[in-house]
């Protein structure tokens, strides 16, 4: 099992007191599977994704990734684990503004101690169609280009797991579709497991399985039929 969540709950301190975000979630994701997380705003989709990436700590329950219990790890151990096994893509791209596209993509490779970090980063940017923009800073690029850099950055270390949080949320439809094609293309190329948070049922339909959340609870689960896959 690539990802395994058992009875996971998440409560956060809000301005008006403690807010319960997730309630007793249990689910498993298998190797190379693509999973779409859908649901209304505030249903806990992104929070669940963050728990899977070790970017948020569960209040209770266990989160395992590749057989490792993420809830037992400290901040630095989690960072080292992500370095080797996970790539994350956000809705707002979250590129580091003081770095060029090439430097942004090379950073996770460098952190992992890769000696040809910059060559690999350049190849990855080439793969997302940005070979001519490697020296540009995020502020000099369009939203779609920034998201492609973010995809390249997430995919460059060849992660076992790709987590994407509404990666087309800030983009127009045609750019969004292009980004999704790239995301699925990268996943196919590297053979990673993909968990995707989206509002779009069309996008979710491209995944092997769609999980719907409502009010922080698993509401329903749909598997893609063989016909749909074809």
């Amino acid at each position: 099992m690539v990802l395994s969540l058992r009875d996971v709950s998440l409560s956060l301190q809000g301005n008006a007191g403690i807010v319960d975000i997730l309630h007793g979630i249990s689910l498993e994701v298998t190797e190379r599977e693509t999973v779409g997380l859908v649901g209304p705003s505030g249903s806990g989709k992104s929070s669940l994704l963050m728990l899977m990436g070790g970017l948020e700590r569960a209040t209770s329950g266990a989160v395992e990734a590749l057989g490792r219990d993420l809830t037992e790890m400290d901040e630095d151990a989690l960072a080292r684990f992500r370095r080797g096994h996970m790539g994350v893509v956000f809705q707002s791209f979250h590129l580091i503004p003081t770095m060029t596209a090439l430097e942004n993509v090379a950073t996770p490779l460098e952190l992992a101690g890769d000696s040809d970090a910059f060559d690999r980063a350049a190849a990855e940017l080439e793969a997302v169609g940005l070979g001519h923009r490697i020296g540009h800073y995020p502020a000099q690029m369009s939203g779609g280009e920034q998201q492609r850099v973010a995809l390249a950055r997430a995919a460059a270390p060849r992660p076992d797991i790709l987590l994407a949080d509404e990666p087309t949320g800030n983009l127009d439809q045609s750019t969004g579709e292009a980004i999704m094609d790239l995301l699925f293309g990268l996943r196919d190329r590297h053979g990673a497991t993909l968990v995707l948070v989206t509002h779009s049922l069309d996008l979710a339909a491209r995944c092997d399985r769609t999980i719907r959340l409502v009010d922080g609870r698993l509401d329903s689960e749909t598997r893609r039929t063989a016909e749909a896959a074809e």
Binding site: L12, S46, S47, M50, G53, L55, E56, R57, E75, D76, L78, A79, R80, F81, R82, R83, G84, V88, F90, Q91, S92, H94, L95, I96, P97, T98, M99, E103, A106, T107, P108, E110, L111, A112, S115, A117, F118, Y137, A139, Q140, G143, R153, P157, D165, E166, G169
Partner: protein
């Protein structure tokens, strides 16, 4: 003017948001204004103290001073014609000894010989607390505790002045007119003038001043004082007498305080410039945050000028608050420091709230705020409504419209002009303004260079293999970083400190290292002509003595120079008494730089040889005439040669040397410098003073110590000023670090997501802080060295050598300061949970 009222309404609504985000803005302005207001207030307090207590400091309502002689009966009659009381005091240097003969202990003392009326105003405080008349009865003296301790003397012991013994009856605790006396070389001894008869002192040709203190009728007005001054100066025009009254009781102290005060105001202006960087950064950050608001206002029809005015008004209100806080602090600090300042000064200080310096500080603060905010404010006009609908990629770039650039230039000119006008030292103020502008220019270039270099280094192999280093270099070199603000603010603060360090170190080095190598051991003064052969016999035949120079000396007052009255020149040569000399043949080692020295045995019309440098400063040329009043007689001589005179060697150096025949008959004494090994110094003093007690020996090393002490006080005052500038620099630095915290929280969150550990992130933050601090420090060293070189070469006319120790301390200090500020704001980024930070921005 509808648009102005619209702007005012927008400004009022926007100000409802409060002052959040403007703490650094307020602190920068308040600190700069407070420093200038405090210095100005102290300066005015001292000046007013001098004026208010002028009568006590002077020792009377007015004073007429003669050099090297007493007033004649006719002169005294004139003084008595308008004064109700006339009291005479004679001031001179002498050797105080514990006994006669070579085995006695001796020390230099500044003797004040007084009459029974002394003091006309104020009171002398003695220990034991006995009346002065009782203490000075008969052959008695009152001595300053330092002199008594130096010679190991107690009450009732004998103290020798010249060839006469006196009994010590009391210690002098307070001398009411000490502030008027200027800076003496030795501690004070008080004695009755008539008691000096038989001491061999005050003989013809001796160097002494006679001060006639006058009590005037209580109703005497300032206008009447002016009239009396004119009357006395007209009557004594040729007598070399100088008038002073209660309005300028202590011109030396007043001038010193005025100069140091003005200098510190200039240092304060540098502090304000540093604060300006923080002000500018705060306004930029504020306007960046307001970009959507500005864009919205434009969308709904607001014109560019309305928006500019609205934000100018907001910043104006905030600047007024900052200036007001600074003024309150600047007014209160001197009052709190009053007890300390009072003990450091020989004159009374009238502490209080003074409007003038507060207004000056407010003007500087307001203009600085305007200069440093106009540029970012002008850019509000360039914000496009479209930025609402697409991602604004940062603040607008490029030049603002011409009218704003013109307004900015005009404000800068007004600020520089005001500082030149109000400081009283216009040339130095202009130099300082130029230096600040150049320093800011160099720092902007340096910030640009550091960023470019960081970008380049980030792409090298070494940096690419070390994530924390490359992250740091990328952050320094990348867009939107804090590099410019940090390098500018800390750099300018450190530059001021480095300049002070370089100047101070060079001055100390000049005194500690250069001077003692060539300076004589002793200056012997008041050697009577008949004592000269015996004196020379003693010192010239001593194998420990390597060199003896001697020259006749007498005093005079310059009356006219090159056809102009002495009062027309603002130069030390034409101010007060001037010691002059005469010679027949060219003294050994003298170099003539222009004209020709008179032939040996010359007996024609008087000629004078002038020091080249002073002649250049005064505009004196060969063929010009100099008229001097020497002991009441005018002597006019023609300048026939220029000489090289180096006063820095500590040897004999006279600005004017006359031909021998012109002054041979005038009463004079001899001055001699003796170069001896340190071990032989004590014995020479014992022998010379034992043989001729009237001869006064000034130990050069003691004089140097006094100068060094005065210099230390000056350096301490300047360091305080530079410290205030640096403090402002730190505030800006902390502001920059705080402003960058949000960005670092985001950056740390992304890096954690990508797999960076906290150690990697912290190391990266530390490297970038240290890099910026070190860069600011290095620029400061270059700027400080340039400023130090400029001040020493052009203002002090002294050689300059780079002083590495203070420079090193500044680089390390700069790096440490930014490191600490950076680390202080590293906690939140390190503790941030990536999910919460990154999702909040989605």
């Amino acid at each position: 003017m509808t648009w102005l009222s619209q702007a005012a309404r927008i400004a009022t609504r926007e100000l409802r948001g409060g002052l959040a985000g403007f703490r650094i803005f307020l602190a920068c302005l308040a600190l700069g204004v407070a420093a200038i207001a405090a210095v100005g207030s102290v300066r005015v307090s001292i000046t007013e103290g001098l004026q208010r207590e002028g009568r006590v400091i002077l020792g009377g309502d007015a004073e007429v001073e003669f050099s090297y002689r007493f007033a004649t009966d006719q002169e005294l009659d004139l003084l008595r014609s308008f004064a109700t009381e006339v009291s005479a005091a004679v001031d001179f240097r002498s050797m105080a000894a514990t006994a006669q003969g070579p085995d006695a202990d001796r020390a230099l003392t500044q003797v004040k010989a007084v009459d029974a009326l002394y003091p006309l105003t104020g009171a002398v405080a003695l220990e034991p607390d006995i009346p002065l008349a009782e203490a000075l009865a008969g052959d008695s003296v009152v001595v300053h505790p330092v002199l008594a301790d130096r010679l190991g003397l107690e009450m009732g012991d004998s103290l020798w002045l010249g060839t006469k013994a006196f009994t010590i009856t009391a210690r002098l605790i307070r001398e009411p007119d000490a502030g008027a006396a200027g800076f003496g070389l030795g501690p004070r001894t008080l004695v009755r003038t008539e008691a000096l008869d038989g001491s061999g002192l005050l003989s013809s040709g001796s160097l002494f001043e006679t001060d006639y203190r006058l009590t005037l009728p209580p109703e005497t007005t300032d206008a009447q004082l002016d009239a009396l001054e004119v009357q006395v100066e007209t009557a004594f025009a040729d007598a070399g007498a100088r008038w002073r009254d209660r309005r300028n009781a202590s011109p030396q102290v007043a001038r010193f305080v005025d100069r140091i005060g003005s200098f510190l105001v200039l240092v304060g202006l540098a502090g304000l410039a540093v604060g300006g960087v923080g002000v500018s950064a705060a306004v930029r950050a504020y306007l960046d945050r307001k970009t959507p608001v500005i864009a919205t206002l434009k969308t709904i029809g607001a014109e560019g000028r309305t928006i500019f005015a609205a934000y100018l008004m907001q910043i104006g209100v905030l600047a007024a608050v900052g200036v007001a806080i600074g003024l309150v602090l600047g007014a209160i600090i001197p009052l709190l420091a009053a007890p300390f300042i009072s003990t450091q000064l020989p004159v009374p200080v009238a502490f209080g709230i003074h409007g003038g310096p507060l207004a000056e500080a407010a003007l500087y603060g307001a203009l600085t705020a305007l200069i440093f905010t106009l540029w970012p404010l002008a850019r509000t006009e360039q914000v496009r409504a479209a930025s609402l609908f697409r991602d604004a990629s940062g603040p607008a770039r490029g030049w603002p419209r011409k009218r704003y650039v013109a307004a900015l230039a005009a404000s800068a000119v007004i600020l520089i002009g005001a500082s030149a006008l109000l400081s009283g030292i216009p040339l130095l103020a202009l130099y300082a303004a130029g230096a600040i502008l150049v320093a800011l220019g160099i720092l902007v270039l340096a910030a640009w260079g550091v960023r470019a270099l960081s970008r380049r280094l980030a792409r090298t192999g070494t940096a690419r293999g070390t994530p924390s280093l490359r992250l740091a270099l990328g952050a320094v070199g990348g867009p939107g970083g804090e590099a410019t603000a940090v390098v500018l603010s800390l750099g300018l603060g450190l530059t001021v400190l480095a300049a002070v360090g370089q100047i101070d170190a060079n001055m100390r080095a000049a005194i500690d290292r250069d001077l003692p190598q060539v300076a004589p051991s002793y200056f012997f003064v008041d050697i009577q002509p008949d004592q000269l052969p015996g004196f020379l016999d003693r010192v010239e035949n001593d194998p420990a003595v390597s060199r003896v120079d001697a020259a006749p000396m007498l005093g005079g007052v310059v009356q006219t120079l090159a056809g102009r009255p002495a009062a027309d020149f603002d130069h030390w040569v034409t101010r007060g008494d001037r010691r002059i000399s005469f010679a027949d043949s060219l003294p050994e080692g003298t170099r003539i730089t222009g004209g020709t020295w008179w032939p040996e045995g010359y007996d024609g019309p008087p000629q004078v040889s002038f020091a080249q440098e002073e002649a250049d400063e005064l505009g004196v040329e060969i063929g010009d005439e100099v008229t001097m009043n020497i002991l009441g007689r005018d002597l006019t001589a023609t300048v026939t040669s220029f000489r090289e005179v180096d006063f820095s060697t500590g040897g004999i150096g006279f600005v004017m040397v006359f031909n021998e025949a012109a002054l041979r008959g005038a009463p004079h004494t001899w001055l001699s410098t003796v170069y001896a090994t340190p071990e032989a110094e004590a014995q020479i003093l014992r022998d010379v003073a034992g043989d001729a007690p009237n001869i006064t020996a000034v130990r050069v090393r003691d004089a140097i110590d006094l100068v060094t002490e005065a210099l230390s006080a000056l350096a301490a005052a300047t360091s305080w000023g530079a410290g205030a500038t640096l403090l402002t620099g730190f505030v800006v630095l902390i502001g920059a670090a705080a402003a960058g915290e949000r960005g670092r929280v985001f950056e740390a969150s992304v890096l954690k997501t990508l797999g960076a550990t906290r150690r990697t992130i912290l190391t990266s933050f530390a490297i970038r802080s240290a890099l910026l601090g070190a860069a600011a420090g290095i620029v400061a060293i270059i700027g400080g060295a340039l400023a130090g070189w400029g001040v020493l070469t052009f203002v002090m006319d002294a050689p300059y050598a780079f002083e590495p120790l203070s420079a090193l301390v500044i680089v390390v200090g700069g790096a440490l300061a930014t490191l600490l500020a950076g680390l202080a704001f590293a906690w939140r980024p390190l503790a941030a949970r990536p999910a919460r930070v990154l999702r909040s921005q989605d």
